[in-house]
């Protein structure tokens, strides 16, 4: 009997093994969070169910063994396994209930929005400093003095002072950071710093200084130019 039942189980096992053990070991990769693995397994399961129930015959081939197994009719030696499953299911439900009601060992998970919406008064600004090799060079100088301790001389977020901070300083060479943002967004983030973030950005955790108390606006605009140039990224534009 097991044939049509075994295949889906094996398939789910393979998908799980790939997600859990293969993907994290690809160079440059990292372990997947449980939520994502769960999502992909759900998709696989629903795919299996959909495909198995596409026609009357395939549904019977898929379902009949399950039904036989569960009612325990004509399954011979599998009877023991059946009792095991029947016992295991309530126990698993019980264990889940226990672990969700018991105080958790893991601290609350964090879901910080990395690029929250800026305040309206910043979205419309444009860089008033003309873009010349000279100003860019100045910007890079300011960057080296003020920003590089955390964001790194290579614009990779790995400066010497970065290690203790959580969230870590942004990696500007990553194409999903400043390349997705406009200059006005950076202006807001640099000027107002971590404490200027809205609640979804978790301002209480950010170590980013509020540079408006130390630097004039013009310097900030120059830093932005130097930053894009140094990280080999271009700001997002709309025209």
């Amino acid at each position: 009997m097991g044939g049509s039942l075994l295949k889906p189980v094996i398939l789910i096992g393979i998908v799980y093994a790939i997600l859990k053990f293969v993907v994290p070991n690809i160079p440059g990769s990292a372990p997947l969070p449980a939520s994502l693995i769960f999502l992909y397994l759900m998709l696989t399961t629903s795919g299996i169910v959909i495909f198995a129930t596409l026609s009357g015959e395939s549904k019977d081939a898929f379902w009949n063994p399950i039904q036989r197994f569960m009612t325990g009719e004509n399954i011979g030696g599998l009877q023991v396994l059946r009792y095991g499953v029947l016992l295991l299911f309530p126990l698993m439900v019980g264990w889940q209930t226990y672990s969700s009601t018991a105080t958790s060992d893991a601290p609350p998970s964090e879901n910080r929005t990395i690029h929250p919406a800026p305040p309206g008064e910043y979205t419309g600004l444009s860089n008033p400093v003309p873009k010349t090799p000279d100003t860019i060079q100045q910007g890079k100088g300011f960057y080296a003095a003020f920003c590089s301790p955390c964001h790194g001389g290579n614009f990779d977020g790995k400066g010497p002072a970065a290690r203790g901070f959580n969230p870590p300083p942004a990696n500007f060479s990553d194409p999903t950071t400043i390349a997705m943002l406009q200059e006005s967004y950076l202006f807001w983030r640099i000027k107002k710093g971590g404490v200027g973030l809205p609640i979804e950005g978790m301002p209480w955790k950010s170590a980013m200084p509020r540079w408006e108390v130390e630097l004039p606006d013009e310097w900030i605009w120059k830093i932005i130019m130097g930053e894009y140039d140094g990280a080999h990224q271009a700001p997002r534009t709309w025209e």
Binding site: N111, P119, G120, E121, L125, N127, P128, E218, W238, E239
Partner: protein, 207 residues
Amino acid sequence: MSEVVKLQLIGLAVVGSGALILLLVRAQFVRVIGFVAIVLGLFTLTALSVPQMASLPPVEEKFDIATVKTPTDMATIGQKIFFSKGQCALCHTIGPSESARCPDLKGIGAKLSREFLFESLTQPQAYIYLDYRHGGQPKEYPARMPYINKNPIGLSKNEILSVIAFLQQMSGEPISVSVAELEVPGQAPAAPVKVAQSGPVAVAQAH
């Protein structure tokens, strides 16, 4: 018990009752209701398992003269007014943009004198504008610009001065509006500002 846990329990109860209906009831319509209950319950449970964030409104800012010490402070207030109460940004942009419906104000503070800016805001029809929307030959056209000092926008003089300060700052200009010009509420307004009455003669200063 937190609100999320309460909602989760409700969701589970809904799903459970749906499952019970499917198990025990045979009337088709009721079964469909049970099925719908399961779907809706699962949807709610899924929504509860993603990060929960409410968006709180920021503190409402009031124009308080006492806190304004420098022209830069004025410009900061002006920036907020430009993008909210003043409704300037509904049309104007600072820097080129596809969505602009009115002239781009980048560098405007350097191109125009503060008197001209003030007049443009309070008497938009005073100086004949070119309808920038039309291509080809420039065409004379009544300004689409509303009176900023009248309803519905109705900025006060202090607010208009702050916006001008912001425009100058955004153009890299020194701010020529001084804090002393601000009217303290409750007192009679100081001598009317000369520029406001100087008539439609202001001319753009080319820089």
